[in-house]
Symmetry: C2
Subunit: 147 residues, 2 copies
């Protein structure tokens, strides 16, 4: 079980305050996690979807590099630690009820995000016949800004 | 509890088959849900993040319109049913382990996705001081294709 999010303000009880206010009140689920979508800031491509606990979110804010909570390894995961695919965070967006984040990132290393070698984890499309097909997008031009 | 996903093939036991194969084997979580990110196909903007159970995914594939599972109402949710913000699905992408989807959609109604009136649910950015600021993006030009 990830640590409780005591380092962030609790979600507001009233929806209008949570949805229209200026206070960051991340709403971690019962499992202590919220969902984060990483977008390549240079291309707008969706790179990956992952989860953050309070520790990962705090580390992301403190370092400017994306940290997630690895559910399979049950531990903090600094993205790119072994692959070099570090994600420098350019902007963090939060959704209406504050239980999901969009991270606009500049990707280091080879510019990719997926452990399979694809640039984006979303490298297959569901065809009309229900089968998956690899998209051309996944290995298309790398982001100009590979910093 | 959402219905079990018996209408889809179960996830493959072997990671390579799940990650590199051509069989669609959506991996619903212990709660019966997977995560879906809706992207405006015309602008590339992230509109919203929601969840799907097997019934919602089957309805989406059958109708070509995004259906989600509303966790707050604990029922199938045809997006746009009351708001008119119907999402016509142009393309569905699936990630490596098949527990997340990206839906590229054409949005009906006023072109928005958020119940607050913002175009995207991600209408606030986390500032360097930790406070939220509304972005200009949320009410920027509506998608050209509002069908």
């Amino acid at each position: 079980m990830p640590p409780r999010p005591e380092r962030f303000a609790a979600p507001a009880a009233a929806a209008p305050e949570q949805e229209l206010g200026t206070a960051f009140r991340p709403k971690f689920g019962a499992d202590g996690l919220l969902t984060a979508v990483a977008i390549d800031d240079a291309t707008g491509e969706v790179l990956m979807l992952a989860h953050m606990d309070a520790e990962a979110l705090a580390a992301t804010l403190a370092t400017g590099e994306a940290h997630y909570y690895s559910r399979s390894r049950a531990k903090l995961w600094r993205k790119g630690e072994t692959s070099g695919q570090v994600q420098r965070v350019r902007r963090i967006l939060v959704d209406c009820d504050q239980d999901a984040l969009v991270l606009r990132v500049a990707v280091g290393g080879d510019g990719g995000a997926c452990h399979t070698g694809a640039r984006s984890c979303f490298y297959r499309a569901v065809g009309e016949d229900g089968a998956l097909r690899r998209t051309e997008d996944d290995r298309s031009a790398r982001a100009a800004d590979g910093s």
